[in-house]
Symmetry: C2
Subunit: 437 residues, 2 copies
Amino acid sequence: MALPKTLPGFREFYPEAMAVRRFLFNVWRESALAFGFQEYDGPVLEPLELYTRKSGDEIEAQLFSFTDKGGREVALRPEMTPTVCRLVGAKANALKRPIKWFSIAEFYRYERMQKGRGRSFFQFNADIFGEAGPEAEVELIALLVQCLRRFGLSEADVYIRLSDRDLWLLYLEEYGFSPEETADVLSAVDKLEKLGDAAFRGYEEKHGALAPEKREAIQALFGVRGFEALAALVQSLGNERLQARLAQWRQLLDGLEAMGVGSFVEVDLGVVRGLSYYTGFVFEAFDRKGDLRAIAGGGRYNDLVRRYGGPDLPAVGFAIGDMTFQLLLEARGLLPTMVQAADVYAIIGGPAERQKALRVVADLRMAGVRAEYPLRQVGFGKQFKLADQSGARLALIFGEDEVQRGVVKLRDLRSGEEEDVELARAVAAVRERLHGG
Amino acid sequence: MALPKTLPGFREFYPEAMAVRRFLFNVWRESALAFGFQEYDGPVLEPLELYTRKSGDEIEAQLFSFTDKGGREVALRPEMTPTVCRLVGAKANALKRPIKWFSIAEFYRYERMQKGRGRSFFQFNADIFGEAGPEAEVELIALLVQCLRRFGLSEADVYIRLSDRDLWLLYLEEYGFSPEETADVLSAVDKLEKLGDAAFRGYEEKHGALAPEKREAIQALFGVRGFEALAALVQSLGNERLQARLAQWRQLLDGLEAMGVGSFVEVDLGVVRGLSYYTGFVFEAFDRKGDLRAIAGGGRYNDLVRRYGGPDLPAVGFAIGDMTFQLLLEARGLLPTMVQAADVYAIIGGPAERQKALRVVADLRMAGVRAEYPLRQVGFGKQFKLADQSGARLALIFGEDEVQRGVVKLRDLRSGEEEDVELARAVAAVRERLHGG
């Protein structure tokens, strides 16, 4: 009677896969810590209302939601943003600003499966709360780049499309769009790359035909690539608020240059991001070859903490998903072979020597050394094979003759070099060899 | 409009709490790696049948279960054992034996909340598959002790009650209990400590009154403390299979002595563990003061992989829960204060110096140094305060004068000592100071 299989879209992590997952998480964590971000986490299960409350979100249809045994409507978390807004909002006055937080957590969405997308996936989330200026974006985009570079990815592999919903709003206002219309224009722009002109169908059904000069204006901003082109377009309009926004752009780009990450960033107004809660700069990272989904995405969401019942707190954040990221590293040959080797293998003459050997193994492990030994007593030849398979650099040979003399033979399994070491000095001798002390 | 709160029994991890969680997990992970265990993980959501299939399990009533959007009956995982049996069972022939695996994962049970028990909790699980002899128990119990000792817990704080369901079965057989009766006797014994004689009520309703000599026999084994007492009781019976089992006990206890963990272990036949899938040695760890729930528990479950459709594969494992464990460390004052301090803080003269400063900060971070700086330009005095608050050991002062001379002032914030360092050498100088190079 076979066991029920793993659910579609969920993953099993055998040790090889787990080693890769740990490698990704460790590099992300070290990067965030180097930037002074602090780690947090929230519950895997949340009240359903946490996700249904936020308008303009496609996530709702994709939730793993149910009624728990206490009659509560609950859902597995599909993203971190609502949770982190609640956590920060609840203690906003007690937390030292700017609040720089990160998390590495799993999320769940019931959606059609495709390459690089499962029903469960991990995300690295980083956010800064309490800083309204583009200095926060500089810090976050620099962190995103470090999260790429630390794996060996360069600007030849990955680029970040940088855009601005704030500038889009001011621009559409300049062209006479009402606030309700701008939201629907941005929804259309979000799909323009994929659908072409058909992207405006929904807008036109709701608001009537789009005048040709308005459509041209949208296409003009949508097509902007590079800061020069953006500055030229904005300056042609002579709108003061747009000019002021351009100054923020300069500050952001100068900061990114100073941080040494400018070469990763491309000004590209073709991006607006699907989620309507973004209020300013937005960005998405892609691989240059362009055959994968977005690797990371983020932006400013200054209204969300307040909309969630917290104080008025500016915020900007991004997330990297693990699945597409891992596909990219694999495609570029940047995933190292994960070998979990022992440091030292104990070869044991017989039952009489076992006692002494186990004690040394225990002491080695307590000192943090990865020490293995044959659980069952087997012949010497077989033990040397096991030592070899374990990947250990060193062997400690507890032969009858050695143990009687109060020593153990320490052998370097690469060079074949060996020496007798007093039993009491075995741990120290192994550590010296391993750490080249 | 306040956000819906966290569900009862679920936890939020603000950075301080998260630092404690990481500390626990890191020590457990390092201990397991030192023992040559490999890390794995499974899905958070599993088919409901994975948990309802296994008989004799109280877990069923406590599941977070529901029907997903594809009509599948699913449940949040309440424990790791069924998942790890499936993973190992599916690849049993490809995995090198003994299979030594561990995981650190979250589990979910809908149950009444009490101290040290939530509806979501983490467990460290370690298991050995493919070794039938007590050498596997020696290795596992030694790992459990290392997981305690590495935090500073000693045999004065914690002890492990070691018992044996196999011996219990042989003993009850010797006293004429039928196989159906023994299962119910063991259920009663599991509750005997808590309920006293009332524990037998269920048994007697089903099988009729318990003869006084049988009840006495049960009480005799139940009261056994220490190996001498166990050996005396077994030898008085003259049963060969019980004698053979005693030899296994000797092997186990000798191994634990050799591993240097004998002082943590107490032979105590009063433990049988609630789960009926255990087939041999079982053990539970408690604090000596006795005011907390069990810290860890485990045992042998040789039939489970086969019962789950895999091959015949002997297995033994244990789990430590994070909540009781953390309460114990807190009670013993063994949780260090978690400080996430910066290594170096950059103090920036003005906008003109910011460019150079950010570049050095970026290079420091790329080198793994925790470098912070004021996101916003503020006065020198305020920046020194921020540097202090960051906990940094060093400050890099990018004054106008210094930057013009191509240098930066490196100050030790403890000693007040300072020196000018060439900008190009700033990263190297900081690293030398931090690592005492």
